[in-house]
Symmetry: C2
DNA sequence: CTTAACACGTGAAGC
DNA sequence: TGCTTCACGTGTTAA
């Protein structure tokens, strides 16, 4: 049963224009029928009640349009997030809040990664984006002594982890080298890919240390960033 | 007047428990009063009407909690976006949709910008992020013949536009150079800063062309990306 | 039978 | 005044 409980509607019901038992009526034609009956039962053409009833109808339809507008935006949000169509409004909005916070943090971190080689060895792996199709994008930055065989080994490491290289940067300065890699992980990778990549790069640098390099201060374990 | 229009409430009103004219009552104490009066007017302790009335009260409070949950998330979204607290729900959600689409597009574009110099001259300026405090971040990429005085001139251009350089990359290959710059604009800059930067870089490259370089195919106007 | 989620109509308040 | 937005209570439906 539709609410239809305003004073005006109750007055009409008392004057013979009852709901009856026809539940299948469309809302607009039903309202039209009400207004017609009301006009016929009065003498003057546009009574205050007439205008109030019209206003009530306008109000009702405006409110319906407002609801449709809000819900259409909510559905658009649903399509923009990795979630099915049956997540309820509150959970959907919670996911939107979380996603916006992630992206805002990423925007800061992406610009924070230094491009010049630093004095200390370091490895940074930060998760950069979770697309709605499940693939995730990492940005890895590593800094160490310059050596010619590093880049091929890096490629080998990425291939062994089934990571696709989207972009690679390299910068050398004062005998040091920094590599910045943007890699994409398949959807079957989880958040643990970050740590896998982190450990692979760490062993790569340790290997080069033990072979032909003097020991150097490292900062591996202080630069893991997993947002 | 609060709705309170269910069949149960109307039944109660007919049996002497009217609303009266006390509009300032709190909802919960009012409901409690109703239930007490109803129990007193009946003989048995827990009638079906009793349970129905309790269910109605539970339903009402559950609905209120649901509204609070949704609205709290909407307020969180309000604080995450550059908008005041008086934007209505529909407009707020529209902004959220727009912002999420921007960020999703950015994630693609950031990884799309090539790092190696290309054969054709080109300038790309893409708006990268709008923080909630009003500052915006641009990513500018320019590719041309390698020349030593380009970088100081670039810095000068950025200073003249009151843009703060967050990060700069440079790569040379085969006599060509590519510079990628991440710059931040103050909050008094608008979206037009993108075009200002675009034009400044364009004139910078044209100047170098006219001085000491042969004409070369350009692609300035095909690589402006303003999302 | 409860519980949760939704759409609806309605009164109130701001402009 | 009318128009818009909001919160509320309610009926309904699905798990």
């Amino acid at each position: 049963m539709q609410p239809e409980n305003s004073e005006l509607y109750r007055f009409l019901a008392q004057n013979g224009v009852g709901h009856g038992s026809s539940y299948g009526f469309s809302s607009s034609s039903y309202d039209f029928q009400i207004m017609q009956s009301f006009s016929n039962s009065c003498i003057s053409e546009t009574t205050p009640q007439d205008r109030a009833l019209a206003a009530l109808k306008n109000h009702k339809e405006a409110e319906r349009r407002r609801r449709e507008r809000i819900n259409s935006h909510l559905n658009r949000l649903r399509s923009l997030l990795p979630c099915n169509s049956k997540t309820d409004k509150a959970s959907l909005l919670a996911k939107v809040v979380q996603r916006l916070r992630e992206l805002k943090q990423q925007a800061v971190e992406v610009t924070e990664v230094e491009n010049l080689p630093s004095e200390t060895d370091e490895i940074r792996v930060l998760s950069c984006d979770y697309s709605s199709d499940g693939t995730s994008i990492f940005k890895a930055s590593l800094c160490c002594e310059d050596r010619s065989d590093l880049f091929p080994e890096l490629i080998q490491v990425l291939n062994s982890l089934h990571l696709k290289t989207l972009r690679a940067e390299m910068a050398t300065f004062g005998g040091r080298i920094r590599n910045v890699l943007v890699v994409a992980a398949d959807k079957d990778h989880g958040i643990e890919s970050v740590h896998l990549l982190q450990n692979a790069l760490k062993s790569l640098l340790e290997r080069s240390d033990s072979i032909d390099r003097p020991k150097r201060r490292r900062a591996y374990d202080h630069n893991v960033m997993v947002p």
